[in-house]
């Protein structure tokens, strides 16, 4: 684990760059990360997904997978993949400051 400065804030991240303290997240961090990851600019649809992922993780204790995002954020599966190309699970988690979807091992 290490920390880095982004969008004027210091955040704790793991070896892969995922935030480990969800409470340190701000929308400005998501915007800065979206630039780094090459998916800027973030549209309304992106924000709907990111907001859902944050709320759902807080309530549920684990990050939502694609089906759950589609059901909860009002986007289709195709749109979700267009918004977050190659693996929305991981990209959404990265930008929303929640853990990436995991298995038990």
């Amino acid at each position: 684990m290490s920390s880095r400065t982004i969008a004027g804030a210091v955040i704790d991240v793991d070896a892969e760059g995922f935030m480990t303290q969800s409470t340190q997240w701000t929308p400005e961090i998501a915007i800065a990360l979206s630039n780094e990851l090459g998916i800027a600019p973030l549209t309304d649809a992106h924000w709907r997904v990111l907001t859902f992922a944050r709320d759902d993780t807080a309530k549920h204790g684990q990050s939502p997978g694609p089906r759950r995002i589609v059901a909860g954020a009002g986007v289709t599966m195709k749109e979700l993949y267009a918004l977050f190309p190659k693996g929305p699970g991981k990209l959404v988690a990265r930008l929303a400051g929640v853990p990436k979807p995991k298995s038990c091992l």
Partner: protein
């Protein structure tokens, strides 16, 4: 007489029914389950490789339920939580004072475009059902070589390590049949790695290379084209196969959706520590039917039953539930050639290395291959029928313990 009604007499429902029928006075304990037999599902992994025969993994349900449990052999159609009644597909109506949902989950190959079309049952199989694992056994025996793809369609699935175990056992099986060089083994997973927890990834990552298994990660299955024998992902990647072993999408029972109690896949949202269903004081859920942030595993069903027992007794006395379940899971993971791993974890603690259950002694070793672990896995079937289902205490603690585990010195 008051009524405790339990829906489903699988691993979870059977333990709860047997325990509660001993614990409660003045209460009738009823389970509703349409199936004549009880299956030991962990054995489904061994059937395709001829390590266990089909007959040894089922028993008549009557032999698993205690003398004071009433079994209604019907299928629940809906729960009316305001009227406190359950209706069955056969037209039965049953009143309850407290209800426990233990209806597990099932595979839904019908939810993936093309999966049940051409090739289903000839070049594409599941091993999560008895019919599927038996058919796959015949297909493996007849397999002459080529590309065998194990594809997890989406999470959550039962026993999330079973697909990897299948690959490890397949590597050993084809090696023993002296045809390993003619078989390519591929794992297509929606997650970003085969091992997703840091310490497991570090300790076990070598197993895939060592066994020659290639991994296609972040592969979210959109459709299966059985004619062309390819699996396609939502981002238009293709994985070709000669033999497909699919772990289809899982969902809860229909009645959960009908009764308005489920999420998008008909799993029941509930408090992860008390097991009380959101918004209801007399409705509880445990096992695979629940939407809990831990594995869908028999060991979880067992540890949840331990926690639920006291909360059900409290509920019969009008007391609220206590947050007693910690997410504990404990699973043997077959690695082939007579060896296995053991993992032990909960909501807070990822799988760690160490000894289990006695520090410094074992006999089982955590996150490390050993013959003792494999012997433990195979012996567990006896414990399952003779101790676990009967609700007898097993020699393992319900709560996860850090004793014997090696804590990470550097944060992960």
């Amino acid at each position: 007489m008051k009524n405790l009604l339990i829906i489903g007499a699988g691993t979870a429902g059977t333990i709860v029914a047997n325990r509660m029928s001993r614990d409660l006075r003045g209460w009738a304990v009823t389970v509703v389950d349409p199936g004549a037999d009880h299956a030991y599902q962990a054995g489904l992994l061994h059937v395709p490789f001829d390590m266990l025969d089909e007959a040894s993994i089922t028993r008549p349900r009557t032999s698993t339920l205690g003398p004071h449990v009433r079994w209604v052999r019907e299928a629940v159609r809906a729960i009316d939580t305001s009227g406190r009644t359950v209706e069955t597909r056969e037209g039965g109506k049953y009143d309850y004072d407290i209800i426990v949902i233990a209806s597990g989950c099932r595979i839904r190959p019908d939810l993936t475009e093309g999966l049940t079309g051409e090739g289903w049952g000839t070049t594409a199989f599941d091993f999560y059902t008895q019919a599927g694992s038996s058919a796959l056994k015949r297909a493996l025996a007849a397999f002459e070589g080529g590309r065998l793809v194990v594809n997890v369609v989406e999470m959550p699935i039962k026993c999330p390590v079973a697909p990897l175990e299948f690959l490890f056992l397949a590597d050993a099986y084809f090696t023993e049949r002296k045809m390993r060089d003619r078989v390519e083994l591929v794992y297509a997973t929606p997650l970003d790695a085969a091992f997703t927890k840091p310490i497991a990834a570090r300790t076990l990552g070598h197993l895939l290379d060592q066994k020659g298994i290639s991994v296609e990660t972040e592969f979210s299955t959109a459709e299966v084209d059985g004619g062309a024998r390819v699996v396609r992902s939502f981002d238009d990647r293709e994985v070709a196969y000669d033999l497909l072993v699919s772990i289809p999408t899982h969902s809860g029972a229909d009645f959960i959706e009908t009764s308005g109690l489920g999420n998008e896949l008909a799993f029941v949202p509930a408090d992860k520590n008390t097991l009380a269903v959101d918004g209801h004081e007399n409705v509880f859920v445990l096992g695979d039917a629940g939407d809990f942030p831990t594995s869908k595993a028999g060991s979880v069903a067992h540890f949840q039953a331990d926690a639920l027992e006291s909360n059900l007794v409290r509920a019969t006395r009008g007391l609220g539930p206590l947050p007693t379940f910690d997410g504990h899971a404990n699973c043997f993971v077959e690695t082939g050639h007579g060896k296995a791993l053991l993992i032990d974890f909960n909501y807070e603690t990822e799988p760690l290395t160490g000894d289990y259950p006695v520090p410094g002694v074992g006999p089982f070793s955590l996150l490390e291959e050993s013959r003792a672990n494999h012997a433990g896995k195979m012996a567990f079937r006896w414990l399952y029928w003779n101790a676990l289902l009967r609700g007898r205490p097993l020699p393992v603690p319900a709560h996860m313990s850090l004793a014997g585990k090696h804590l990470p010195t550097t944060p992960t």
